[in-house]
């Protein structure tokens, strides 16, 4: 497999004064399910459109399978796109939609009908050939868009928030299906989404973007467990931030002085060597424990429950301690807000669950 199948070299895209994509470089592997994740306006869609050829970069160049595609128009690139709103041609039926992109490939009519038949069976749309876009559900339109792009056997499939318009149940199903499909056909997928759960559950690697820059690029697991900065930590799931100052380094560990809590030894994931630099300690809500009694965990604080929200499979607690103004923690069915007398509780943290973040 080619590790630098897609090379993005110092790509910038400016719209007037806005730097939609700001000097971004990275590589995507062949056969990889790669996601671009970020809030709206972070530049992820612009980057995808640069790959598709709908935009041309202000600076930098793009290589696909060793070929410079920077200046190629969309119709000359070996990429195909699944649009956010699917963009199914409304004046022709499903079969003609799927055939649309085969005209210029120089195939015989037998080859064309075989390809169309195969791809429709791949996306489970046999029997829908005669339907028009207006006669299809959202999920079916999505499959048509997928079939229409895949039938050209592109080197890269670009997907622009393709699941955004579907309801939750269908979205979960399609996530699994897309993932299975991608493994089956082995085409490189570049998937744009603002939904962190979606990106984490489907991708081999995720690039988190903000303000036109890549904040972090790693496996979903790494992203969640070892976010490199506050933005990533906050964007990927919920977390609590505690201000701290570093003290002496101790092998793989470092002593930190957490504001109002005192000195603790935590994993030095940032590999910081200097003393007294400002850092942030991040603690995920689900790693904490909430209880009616004191525990023997590394840190245990008396707390008052300010607010609770019941989420079905768990309850989320917003609590306050003497030391920390606002803490979010969650508990499974075991506790709910009825369990605590006068809203008094104890929250506990293990030092292993504290991760260090750069203060930026």
């Amino acid at each position: 497999m080619n590790d630098s199948f897609i090379q993005i070299n110092r790509i910038s895209k400016h719209f007037g004064n806005v730097k939609a994509v700001d000097d971004v470089s990275f590589q995507i592997k062949e056969g990889e399910f790669f996601s671009l994740l970020g809030p709206s306006g972070c530049g992820k869609t612009t980057l995808l459109r640069l790959l598709a050829g709908f935009e041309y970069p202000t600076n930098g160049n793009l290589l696909l399978d060793g070929i410079d595609i920077t200046a190629l128009p969309p119709d000359k690139r070996p990429t195909n796109m699944v649009f956010q709103n699917y963009a199914i041609f409304p004046h022709i039926n499903v079969e003609k939609n799927v055939q649309f992109g085969l005209r210029k490939l120089g195939l015989t009519s037998d080859e064309i009908s075989k390809r169309v038949k195969d791809v429709l069976s791949l996306v489970k749309l046999e029997g829908y050939e005669e339907r028009f876009s207006s006669q299809l559900s959202g999920g079916q339109r999505q499959r048509v868009a997928l079939a229409r792009a895949l039938v050209r056997q592109p080197k890269v499939l670009l997907l622009d928030e393709p699941l955004g318009a579907l309801d939750k149940k269908l979205r979960d199903e399609m996530q699994l299906e897309l993932r299975t499909l991608q493994k089956e056909i082995g085409i490189t997928f570049v998937f744009v989404t603002h939904d962190q759960q979606e990106a984490i559950s489907m991708s081999d690697r995720v690039a988190v973007m903000s303000e036109g820059k890549i904040q972090q690029m790693s496996s979903p697991n790494e992203l969640y467990k070892n976010p490199q900065n506050i933005f990533v930590s906050d964007f990927i799931g919920e977390t609590n931030f505690l201000k701290a100052k570093t003290e002496s380094k101790d092998g793989e560990y470092i002593n930190v002085n957490i504001e109002n809590l005192g000195q603790f030894k935590v994993k030095n994931s940032l590999n910081i060597s200097e003393n007294s630099s400002d850092v942030i300690c991040s603690v995920r809500p689900e790693t904490m424990m909430i209880d009616v009694e004191k525990s023997d965990w590394d840190i245990c604080l008396e707390a008052t429950i300010k607010q609770t929200s019941y989420l079905g499979e768990m309850t989320k607690f917003y609590v306050e301690t003497k030391e920390i103004e606002k803490v979010i923690t969650v508990s499974s069915q075991y506790f709910d807000n009825q369990s605590f007398k006068e809203n008094k509780c104890f929250i506990s943290i293990n030092l292993n669950d504290i991760s260090l973040l750069n203060k930026k």
Partner: protein, 271 residues
């Protein structure tokens, strides 16, 4: 409530009566066996229509109007299509000013437009005739055609064009295979309305035709002689029927496929 509805109904009927009764006199008198437009009617005849059809000057004028109308509608619709696409699709510097500039012939009195073209045309040393009339009509029809086409193209999902490019079609292929079929009802509506506007237009023709009369010019010339009035009435009746038909067709086409689904409109062949 009942009372209010009746008032509105009466108002509506009066409105349409005022609008259409004078127009209905034309067909009625065109079948009347007399040279004057007056009651009581003296008998039914189709001889005015026969007389109308026997005039060779009328044939010449009709042919002139059709030529001018076809050229003016095709040219103005083509110009309007590109302009409408630019206005609906892109944001560019000077957009509002150029929009206003195209719309101005729609708003300024026609006689001013006519006199201005006449003065310039003659000072350039050209002869009056159907060419300056056609040019004037193009100027006059373009804003109409553009209004119709902008209504059609606005709300058009431009990712359809991107999808086509993405699927290997170049700009022309995309226009031919995606944009044109989807704009087509609007284009035909714009063609028909521009044709009718040109076909019925009098003021520009009056100033610019010289000796080649268009149909409205011919009618105006005939009306000066009382004995020629009846066949002008017959001609008027025919034009009313023809115009109404074309306008209804244009509006039906303009709305085709719109309504229920604003975002994904198109020619619904399957319905």
């Amino acid at each position: 409530m009942e009372q209010k509805n009746n008032t509105l109904l009466i108002y509506t009927l009066l409105y349409f009566a005022f609008l259409y009764i004078p127009v209905l006199f034309l067909p009625i008198f065109s079948f009347n066996d007399a040279n004057y437009m007056s009651f009581p009617l003296s008998g039914f005849t189709t001889e005015h229509y026969e007389e109308m059809w026997s005039k060779t000057n009328l044939h010449k004028a009709l042919w002139a109007s059709v030529k001018v109308g076809v050229v003016a509608s095709v040219v103005s619709t083509t110009i309007a299509l590109f302009a409408a696409k630019a206005f609906a699709r892109y944001k560019f510097r000077g957009q509002n000013i150029s929009y206003g500039a195209i719309m101005i012939p729609f708003l300024i009195p026609e006689i001013i437009l006519a006199v201005a073209i006449l003065v310039i045309w003659l000072s350039l040393g050209f002869k009056l005739g159907l060419v300056p009339v056609t040019l004037g009509h193009i100027l006059f029809c373009t804003p109409f055609a553009m209004l119709i086409l902008i209504a059609r193209i606005e709300g058009f999902d431009f990712s359809l064009e991107e999808a086509s490019r993405d699927l290997g079609e170049n700009a022309w292929g995309t226009f031919y295979r995606v944009s044109l079929p989807l704009y087509l009802p609007g284009i035909i509506a714009a063609l028909l309305l521009s044709f009718i506007i040109s076909f019925d237009e009098f003021v520009l023709a009056f100033f610019l035709t010289g000796s080649d009369a268009t149909l409205p010019m011919y009618m105006w010339a005939q009306m000066r002689f009382i004995q020629k009035l009846p066949h002008v009435l017959a001609l008027g009746a025919v034009i009313i029927v023809f115009t109404t038909f074309i306008v209804l067709l244009a509006f039906w086409l303009r709305n085709l496929g719109q309504g229920k689904e604003k975002v994904e409109f198109g020619i619904k062949i399957h319905e």
